[in-house]
Amino acid sequence: MKKNFLSISIALVFLVSGGGLVLAAAQGDTPQAQLPVLITACGQSPDSSLLKAIFMRAKLEHPTPAYELILEAAPEDLTAASDAGRPFKSIMIIMGASLKGMGAAGIAIEDELERTEKLVEAARSQGISIIGVHIGGMKRRAQGADPGDNTDERSIDAVAPNSDFLIINQDGDSDGRFTTIANEKNIAILTVAKNLDLLEVVKQIYGQKYPQ
């Protein structure tokens, strides 16, 4: 019974949140991507740990590790994976900044923006899908930060318009910021009511069923 606790709980969440997962109607079918996926962040957000936990629980089947979290991923990591015979096919970049995380790592937002730009450029040249992810809600937006702290918004500007599609916790899109970017750039956007719904999102994107 205990083993089934999580599965039952997740099913309950979907019921409570009315299915939770919403695909922007204008964009058509659920966007697809391939494994393995590189998880990284633009701004050292701890939300990358949430996403990693989702992949851990999703247990997606793949001959090589389905995912890898490299918080400060650089183009060299893409090359290294390719050289090792397990090239990344998609990248999820967490948007939103952690001043504490960056401060602890001795990193400035400018460093993060520069690294992200190079990573996106390298991914594009290698045909890797780029998925922008914002799951921290309004707490990872300027409205939830110290007055004058715009690092969250700069992170979003660096990632969202350059993404193939977006995965957004709807709380963080309360002001329509991501919807506006998606509409302007014709980018598909997947919205979740609760981050636990990401289990279903991941399953859909990578075309696998969540293990029962």
């Binding site: 709980s9 949140s17 740990s49 936990a53 851990m56 952690s98 602890a104 809600g137 110290d146 609760k194």
Partner: protein, 389 residues
């Protein structure tokens, strides 16, 4: 006989001063010696002392009780710290609920209700905090010491000009040498507060603790609020707990990584210096906000403050607040649910080291029934099942 008015006036002021001193002294004395009963719950098999793990604490005010709850089935061990900062009462009350109610089916639970017992015997100097507060129960009231963020200067004094954290040598605020959450991992020959951390570290090692959870509350103007702060060893567990609680627990619980560069905190040092996963839980407490109004028992228990609400209207807060405030039951309930969720996820992933707990209320139950519903009448239990904090 001629009366010297000036002398009479001096004598009057002297008497008035003495009376004020007496009243203040009595208040301090009563607060320091207030006995807080703990009715031992069904799974409490032993009450140890911190000095059982480090005799350097024996005879000091910080030789705290360690409540050991054991299940029938062997499993893992989890430590929960209440009262690291005694001015954050929800953490202490949550550990009280666990001590008096939890039924262990598997594994062991170690509870410390007054991690910095010295800090429970004083309130913020000059802060006009209430010395104590009472929780309504079905059988009457239970009174608790309010406490402070720091150890009582009566027990550890003077503070240095500069506090150099051991062993990192990081320079911290001078008064934080009395802050139990700035002195980890502690040292055997250090200050009282450092010795207390050292004793708990020894306990974690000796008892092979798998997870240490430190319970706190935070002001709404502090960005690390309504979160789990996790050492890297516990990031996956914290992340899943955050999502489960936010998805179906009834409230939002975020997650932050423990920074490497900020030393002395439990979520950093316990994880670095022991095999345990270290987590810290923060609940919102408006009474800690600098812009609060009158600092009284009502604010402590109801968490309602018009000035903090006003600060929120100006975008100065990192957590929402409205006219309902943040009542103590909400804050205690958050801690109870988060602890249970952590234990459930841990047990699911590590069945052989599982810790299974029942009979502890969750968030919605604590709000519905009140914290007092889970505090048992200490006047009706045998002395053998009663302890005092």
């Amino acid at each position: 006989m001629r009366v010297n008015v000036r002398s009479l006036r001096k004598a009057g002021f002297l008497l008035l001063g003495a009376a004020l001193m007496l009243l203040a002294g009595l208040s301090f004395y009563n607060s320091r010696h207030l006995k807080e009963p703990v009715v031992l719950g069904p799974s409490v098999t032993e009450v140890k002392k911190l000095s059982d793990y480090f005799e350097g604490l024996e005879g000091t005010i910080n030789d705290a009780n360690v409540y050991v709850l054991e299940g029938q089935e062997p499993g893992g061990s989890v430590l929960i710290l209440g009262g690291t900062h005694p001015e954050e009462p929800a953490g202490r009350l949550a550990t009280w609920i666990l001590a008096e109610n939890a039924v262990l089916e598997q594994g062991r639970l170690f509870l410390i209700l007054s991690a910095n017992r010295s800090g429970t015997t004083v309130t913020r100097l000059g802060g006009a905090y209430p010395p104590d507060y009472s929780i309504e129960t079905p059988w009457g009231e239970r009174t608790f010491r309010m406490g402070d963020r720091w150890s009582n200067p009566l027990d550890q004094w003077p503070d240095p000009e500069v506090y150099i954290h051991y062993p990192s040598r990081q320079e911290l605020a001078y008064m934080d040498i009395r802050n139990l959450n700035r002195t980890w991992p502690g040292r055997a020959n250090g200050t009282l507060t450092e010795k207390t951390c050292f004793a708990i570290i020894q306990m974690i090692k000796e008892e092979k603790i798998d997870i240490a959870i430190d319970l706190h509350e935070a002001e709404l103007q502090y960005p690390v609020i309504s979160v789990i702060v996790a050492h890297e060893k516990g990031q996956d567990l914290a992340a899943m707990t955050s999502m489960m609680i936010s998805g179906m627990g009834g409230f939002d619980l975020g997650m932050e990584n423990s920074p490497h560069a900020l030393r002395g905190l439990s979520h950093r040092e316990i994880g670095d210096h022991t095999d345990a996963i270290s987590l810290l839980l923060e609940a919102p407490e408006p009474m800690l906000d600098a812009t609060r109004g009158r600092t009284d028992r009502k604010l402590l228990l109801e968490g309602k403050d018009e000035f903090v609400v006003k600060a929120g209207e100006h975008g100065l807060l990192f957590e929402k607040i409205d006219e309902n405030g943040w009542p103590i039951d909400v804050r205690v309930g958050r801690h109870c649910s988060a602890i249970l969720q952590i234990l459930e996820l841990w047990t699911e992933d590590h069945p052989e080291r599982g810790v299974v707990v029942t009979s502890v209320p969750r968030y919605a139950e604590v709000i519905e029934n009140g914290t007092g519903a889970y505090l048992h009448d200490h006047r009706k239990v045998s002395p053998a099942r009663l302890r005092f904090e």
